[in-house]
Symmetry: C2
Subunit: 179 residues, 2 copies
DNA sequence: CCTACATCGTTGGCGCGTCCAATGAATATC
DNA sequence: GATATTCATTGGACGCGCCAACGATGTAGG
């Protein structure tokens, strides 16, 4: 069948992102069967492991944007998996709580995901699986550090230019800028 | 800072997809500077390596949907990086050709991506980089094989459900068929 | 020849994940 | 108290991966 350009297959970033596509599909198939998606699982997991939390905290723990937490919590609440109640101690916050049904849902998803790991790592022997996991974890840790561009408390200008400045002007519509 | 749930960090699928996010961001930052995106690079790479091709063929090589190829070619043509001409031998097809400007653009992107690989693999020593690449390549190959569920010519297999009901279908999950 | 069928390009649409900007309420800091 | 910060929410954007359907064209079979 048609070959893929070596310029792609030779690059770790290609291997990684393409394999991630497969991982994502396997996962989606997994919890898609119970009407969930990635964001739901993340939040349920965080609530289970750390207890009730504000939405902002959930976002920090799960690497999600606040606004996406809002939507996910809406959906989870509709399904009865979490409850959203105002925090009396800080009226800006919502306390998000895991319900029993939510706990059950979490376990179901988690189980489905265990199977997914196996499908994903498919042909690798145990040792290689461990090696791969270790290397990935190491890189991920590396890339997450230094990601908390803290506003520095106290006037720490970070020259946050919207930075649309694109060179080859052309027609394009480049965007990007993640802080 | 806030911890991430172990239910997530313990899963290879999580490590993979999250790291892919970083890889994707690094890449985007890379060619975003020249008004390109992933799809563009894939197509330029395929044209450079295998010569002029039809859009369908490009889609097969680059793991892209035909419809997405259309859009990408539109954009590349606007920028003068490829030319789209009808194929006289088969009037269904378009021959897509790489221009000189396109070739230069490809080289620019490719160079930027080399830097990206280095940033991505950051703290890993050469040996680990190699190991990781090898494992990823192996898994990717594994997951790409068996993806060409061919309609078998004659009489349609595949009950082709609207794609949600994919219930306990067991492993297979009737996957795609790109190619 | 004529009828199926497959392929190609195109349009239009969906879902998911990631992100940003801006608003209004509440709180923290000075 | 004035200012800055945090929080939830809305509304939007973009990339990537898909799918369905169309009309035009090409290929096989009977």
């Amino acid at each position: 069948m048609e070959e893929t350009p070596a310029r792609l297959t030779a690059k770790p970033s290609w291997l990684l992102t393409q394999l991630a596509v497969h991982a994502h599909r396997l996962s989606s198939d997994g919890f898609g069967e119970m009407g969930a998606r990635g964001y739901h699982f993340r939040i349920l997991a965080a609530l289970d492991e750390f207890g009730a939390a504000s939405q902002a905290e959930l976002g920090r723990r799960c690497n999600m944007d606040r606004s996406d937490v809002v939507a996910a919590i809406n959906e989870l609440a509709e399904q009865g998996f979490v409850e959203r109640t105002p925090d009396p101690d800080d009226r800006r916050r919502n306390m998000v709580t895991l319900t029993e049904a939510g706990d059950r849902q979490l376990r179901r998803i988690d189980q489905a995901l265990d199977q997914v790991q196996d499908d994903l790592l498919g042909p690798l022997p145990a040792e290689d699986r461990q090696t791969l996991t270790r290397l990935l974890a190491r890189l991920l840790t590396h890339h997450q550090r230094g990601e908390h561009r803290q506003p520095t408390t106290r006037a720490g200008r970070a020259s946050s230019l919207p930075r649309s400045t694109r060179s080859t002007g052309g027609t394009a519509s480049g965007r990007r800028m993640q802080q």
